[in-house]
Amino acid sequence: MTDTLLEICGLNKSFEGVNALCGFSCSMKRGEILGLIGPNGAGKTTLFNVITGFIEPEDGEVILKGVNLTNSAPHRIAKLGVARTFQDVRLVRQVSVVDNVLLSFRAQLGEKLGNVFFHWSKSQKCERENFKVAMSLLEKTGLYEESNELANDLSYGQQKLLSLVCCLAADAEILLLDEPVAGTAPAMIEQILSIIRDLPKQDKSVIVIEHNLEAISRICDRAIFMDAGAKISEGTPEEVHNDPKIIEAYLD
């Protein structure tokens, strides 16, 4: 099928004998929001780390738009259109909110030292354009007022929101969101979910890890239940939710 965006085949990865991924395969279509659920230690975050190149799988392949990503360095994968957030909200804490957003822009002339000294005006122009985009993103997401504050001074929920905004700025085709609403207040959950729900309209696809099943069922087209590194169940969020195998897995 031509609209397959990401194809994952037979991933294996173990840490000191513990299988984090055990022959995991799945595929996703363009514009899809895919939920990834499962108990702690099921291998969900490991899967993200393998897709983004931070961990090399022992076996298997990750293919994005026909390009094999397996064993590529994380920055190359990021440039090919994959953006991610981390479970333990990662931000550049001692720089401002807007600088965090600016950092996630992929193509920046001013990041080459040669341009900084020999094409200053061109790189400044690029910087000003990026700045405008960054500010408008912050405005849309309600972080405009905080744009000059240090990322560290934001509330936990705002930090989660900011890391999502950074993913939006990356201009990626696939966003991997690791527990985007965990530990945030109800109002923030609503806001983050509505941003995620709008992503397919901007031609972006999402894989989201979340323990909040209600959130999953509200935003996801499809869900995968993982346990012990393998896919246990797959289908619409309701189907997965009602799958007897899952009740079994949780009761084990």
């Binding site: 983004t52 931070f54 360095a73 994380p74 920055h75 990021a78 440039k79 953006a83 991610r84 981390f86 990662r90 931000l91 550049v92 804490r93 001692q94 720089v95 600088d99 600016l102 950092l103 996630s104 992929r106 920046q108 002339l109 001013g110 990041e111 080459k112 030292l113 900084v116 000294f117 200053w120 790189s123 910087e127 560290n152 950074c166 990356a170």
Partner: protein, 295 residues
């Protein structure tokens, strides 16, 4: 008057060195212990070219900088693959190797006897033979180093360096080739240090390896940390303090042997006091935490 001008020359060179090193320590979070070695590389390259080949001053200076870039790229490609801690150890090793070369390559560097009769420079027909001329040159070097470092650190390039300092994994996930950024800034920093070395060699007209020991590297690190890493004028202030402060002790009228020891004691005490009460340095805003250089 000559004495004051001499202090200005020395201070100017150290300000440039400290600013160069701050690019690594303050802005990128990498501790380099090889800066005296790069400074020495610039001094020896420039001196040897001038003595043996009679090359013009500016050419010798640039040659020293180029050699420093080459060497830092070569080392950086290997050492910067490792952790920040390993980088500190790697640069310490580089410092030791280069010092041994300066100290033992008798045919070239004359080892511990030092190189003498290094010609005073001539730039565009002007030759700053006087202390005044040299102090202008040293200050110009410090200003240029400052301008280059602040342009680099306030640009998007510098923003990525700060991201690497705080969370390299995150910077990586943002699509930045952190390895390339670290190598580039290491080379820039080494080149700036080497230019300082070239100026020094032509100023004193005699160099020997004792000016380029690991203690000299540590002194420049102290300047950055005392002044305040990653702050606007911190490195420069730290350099001036550590150059001028010991000189002031000379006016206490103590016998030379006592003054030299007292200097060491005060210097150590100052560093300890600063680490206790003001770990971010005199002008710094960025705090070094216990677990290495972190936010």
């Amino acid at each position: 008057m000559e004495y004051v001008l001499h202090i200005i020359v020395v201070a100017g060179i150290y300000v440039g060195l400290a600013i160069a090193l701050d690019l690594l320590i303050g802005h990128t979070g990498l501790l380099s212990l090889a800066h005296a070695a790069f400074y020495g590389l610039g001094a020896y390259t420039s001196a040897l070219l001038s003595v043996y080949l009679d090359t013009p001053f500016l050419v010798s200076l640039v040659a020293g900088a180029c050699l420093a870039i080459l060497l830092s790229l070569l080392c950086g490609i290997i050492v910067l693959r490792l952790s920040a801690e390993a980088f500190a150890i790697g640069t310490f090793g580089l410092q030791m190797v280069l010092f041994s070369i300066y100290n033992n390559w008798m045919e070239m560097t004359k080892g511990p006897f030092g190189l003498k009769d290094i010609p005073r420079p001539a730039i565009l027909g002007l030759s700053p033979q006087s202390h005044l001329g040299f102090s202008i040159m040293a200050v110009a070097y410090a200003v240029v180093a400052y301008l280059i470092a602040s342009r680099a650190s306030t640009s998007p390039f510098g923003r990525v360096l700060r991201a690497i300092r705080e969370d390299e994994v995150l910077a990586w996930s943002f699509g930045k080739s952190t390895h390339r950024f670290k190598i580039t800034v290491f080379a820039l920093s080494a080149a700036l240090a080497a230019i300082g070395g070239g100026i020094y060699a032509h100023y004193v007209t005699y160099i020997d390896p004792t000016s380029f020991t690991v203690m000299e590297s540590v002194l420049v690190v102290s300047m950055v940390i005392i002044g305040g890493a990653a702050s606007r004028y911190g490195a420069a202030v730290g350099a001036v303090v550590l150059v001028v402060f010991p000189e002031l002790l000379c006016f206490l009228g103590l016998p030379g042997s006592v003054a030299a020891n007292l200097r060491q004691i005060l210097y150590g005490g100052f560093l300890v006091a600063l680490m206790i009460w003001r770990p971010q340095g005199l002008l710094g805003t960025y705090t070094f935490s216990k677990g290495g250089i972190r936010g």
